[in-house]
């Protein structure tokens, strides 16, 4: 009886919420932004083998983001394909935070059922799981989609693996003449398809915010002109073919306007073309300098552009309505080809140091510049729609190639592998 009393009292004491200061509190600040270890188990196959290695595509996608560090295949302790086969302790030993498993099955080799499950290894719980039915041709696209789900689940941000890239290729014909193409590929550079071919150079593809149209510069009329082409139909319009330069198109965030570089008045200046009306308004007024490479700030009110009004190319900011431009870059003697992160906080640019051209980012608030690449002929930076990666062109063995770097500079990778020289990449917005 007395003992029970004591028990009760002890229980009550235990239940009393002790004041917060009674509990030791350890504050953890900082932490790293290292890649998240994730175990991606090769998907099980039932019936016909799929033409694509789905888990491999997912693994490459996630690794390419720089946010994930997929475990080496040989480190995978076991190969579960379904939830009940998972022994979480195994994966904890590998310090893997996430575990992705799945399987692909097909009765006819034409249609495939794909399922996946993503687990939090430490909490031993499923975070997300889905099942799909796709034709064989949809497997690659589905793999990217799954990668997006995994990415978004584990980072809280949208993945970009289902987005696309546009870029220009150059090929030599047998007679030594050249062929140019505007191409669109998957976000990993795979699966490229040509949307425009020309014997004349093509330049500066730029995605409309809807992801359905591209603006670009074509020299097909022996001079630079700006076109807008609808991808699904192939229909295109010349939107700027003024005397002089017609180049550097940039879609406004609302998709209704294009900022352009025109030299119709004798000097390259920034203009804004209202697509519906064809109204053209001049933004910059500096006859002694090159003003080009406009890019809209996400707020749609300001434009960043490259100008050598200070003597050397630097990046400036100006209201889209015009007015006085203010210089943005001060570090180094050459900063050009700005692109702006979706959140408007970070600017990517080509930054030259001792005549070597690198991709760099600048914090627009602090002005801090961080050089992300160590290659020397980098150009055309383009933010991924989630702002985590920057796509750019560089040279490898004298030939143009595409590459991407994470905004923290940790991850760099080559994209695509085609026989042609590749340049001027542009990362699409998210699909709508």
């Amino acid at each position: 009886m007395l003992r029970q009393w004591f028990k009760l009292v002890a229980l009550l004491i235990a239940l009393v919420p002790w004041p917060a200061q009674a509990v030791l509190t350890i504050e953890i600040t900082g932490g790293s932004e290292a890649a998240l270890p994730i175990a991606i188990v090769p998907f099980g196959v039932e019936g016909y083998a799929p033409p694509e290695d789905i888990s491999e595509i997912i693994s490459n996608d996630l690794a390419s983001s720089g946010r994930f560090a997929p475990l080496d295949k040989q480190d995978l302790i076991s190969q579960p394909h379904e939830g009940q086969q998972v022994n979480f302790q195994d994966w904890r030993l590998l310090r893997s935070e996430g575990l992705l498993i799945g399987k692909v099955s097909s009765q006819d080799g034409q249609n495939f059922q794909v399922q996946f499950q993503l687990f939090d290894v430490y909490k031993a719980e499923q975070l997300v799981g889905k099942r799909y039915n796709v034709p064989a041709s949809g497997l690659r696209s589905l793999a990217h989609q799954i990668a997006d789900v995994v990415y978004e689940t584990l980072t809280g941000e949208k993945g970009v693996f289902s987005t696309r890239l546009a870029f220009v290729t150059e090929m030599k014909n047998a007679d030594g003449s050249k062929r140019y193409a505007l191409q669109v590929s998957d976000a990993d550079g795979a699966n490229p398809r040509t949307v425009l071919q020309s014997t004349q150079p093509i330049m500066s593809p730029n995605w409309a915010p809807d992801g359905e149209r591209l603006a670009y510069v074509s020299f097909e009329n022996a001079k630079s002109e700006v076109y807008v082409q609808e991808l699904s139909s192939g229909r295109r319009n010349s939107v700027a073919s003024f005397r002089g330069l017609n180049s550097a198109p940039a879609w406004s965030p609302d998709g209704k306007k294009l900022a352009l570089t025109l030299s119709k008045n004798g000097n390259p200046e920034i203009y804004v073309l209202e697509l519906a009306s064809g109204n053209l308004s001049r933004v910059t007024h500096n006859s002694g300098a090159i003003d080009t490479e406009a890019v809209w700030m996400p707020n749609g009110r300001e434009i960043l552009f490259t100008s050598d009004r200070g003597g050397r190319p630097q990046i400036y900011r100006v209201d889209a309505d015009g007015g006085r431009a203010e210089r943005v870059t001060f570090e180094g003697s050459y900063n050009a080809s700005a692109d702006i992160s979706p959140d408007g906080k970070t600017m990517a640019m080509v930054h030259a140091v001792n005549g070597k051209f690198h991709i760099a980012i600048q914090d627009l608030q602090t002005g801090a510049v961080q050089v992300l690449t160590d290659t020397t002929a980098d150009e055309s930076p383009s933010f991924a729609p989630n702002g985590r990666m920057i796509l750019y062109a560089t040279e490898q063995k004298g030939r143009g190639v595409l590459a991407a770097v994470s905004v923290d500079g940790r991850i760099k990778q080559r994209l695509g592998e085609s026989g042609s020289a590749v340049r001027e990449p542009a990362w699409s917005p998210f699909r709508r």
């Binding site: 889905k130 099942r131 799909y132 039915n133 796709v134 034709p135 041709s137 949809g138 696309r164 014909n173 003449s177 062929r179 699966n191 490229p192 398809r193 040509t194 949307v195 425009l196 071919q197 020309s198 014997t199 004349q200 150079p201 330049m203 500066s204 074509s218 020299f219 097909e220 009329n221 022996a222 001079k223 630079s224 991808l231 699904s232 139909s233 192939g234 010349s238 073919s241 330069l245 180049s247 550097a248 570089t261 030299s263 004798g266 390259p268 090159i290 080009t292 490259t306 190319p313 050459y334 050009a336 080809s337 080509v350 005549g355 051209f357 002929a377 150009e379 055309s380 004298g398 001027e424």
Partner: protein
């Protein structure tokens, strides 16, 4: 359900792919092949369009009227030199090219019916759009000198290819020096 959604998405694309036979669409007189297929479908149109060969100087140089005449074709004449070169990121015509350009300017002034096309180029370094503008600026520099000799502004077509059409492939100093240039191309009226 997801299957149906996806299927519903994929089906029309497949349909499109099946229907389109990638016709070449020349628009505005240009010779450009446009890939009409949906972006989601694979397949590259192998047919190249025959573009107007702007780069073939020899063709352009051969004027149709007699003004071009022998003087232009005389290898000993300064007029035979129709390319001027620039320093890096510069639009300033070098002194050694001044004589050449004066001769061209004088020639143009003497032959007001002649038109010359000034094509500015840059080396590959730096941004393409900037280089495009830089090429134009070089061409304009050249035009300025030519006009100082009496040529009329109507006699010029100014264009820039930036770094898009290098004269010399490669990333050597030599190639760059050869690519930083303005080409003068006489065309008939």
């Amino acid at each position: 359900m997801k299957f149906f959604k996806l299927f519903a998405m994929v089906l029309p694309l497949l349909f499109l792919a099946a229907c389109s036979s990638s016709p070449d669409k020349g628009m505005d007189g240009g010779d450009v092949a446009v890939e009409e297929r949906g972006a989601d479908t694979a397949g590259v149109d192998g047919q190249g369009a025959d573009g107007e060969d702007m780069g073939a100087e020899a063709k352009v140089v051969v004027g149709e009227d007699g003004y071009a005449g022998n003087e232009l074709n005389d290898p000993s004449s300064p007029l035979s030199n129709r390319v001027v070169y620039f320093d890096y990121d510069s639009d300033v015509v070098r002194s050694e090219d001044q004589e050449t350009l004066r001769a061209h300017g004088a020639y143009l002034a003497k032959n007001p019916n002649l038109t010359v096309r000034l094509e500015g180029h840059t080396d590959e370094r730096g941004s393409r759009e900037y280089n495009l503008a830089l090429g134009e600026r070089r061409a304009l520099s050249v035009r300025q000198i030519l006009m100082l000799q009496g040529a009329s502004i109507d006699q010029f077509q100014v264009t820039s290819f930036g770094e898009e059409r290098p004269a010399e492939e490669g990333s050597s100093e030599y190639a760059w020096s050869q690519n930083r240039r303005v080409e003068l191309k006489y065309i008939g009226r």
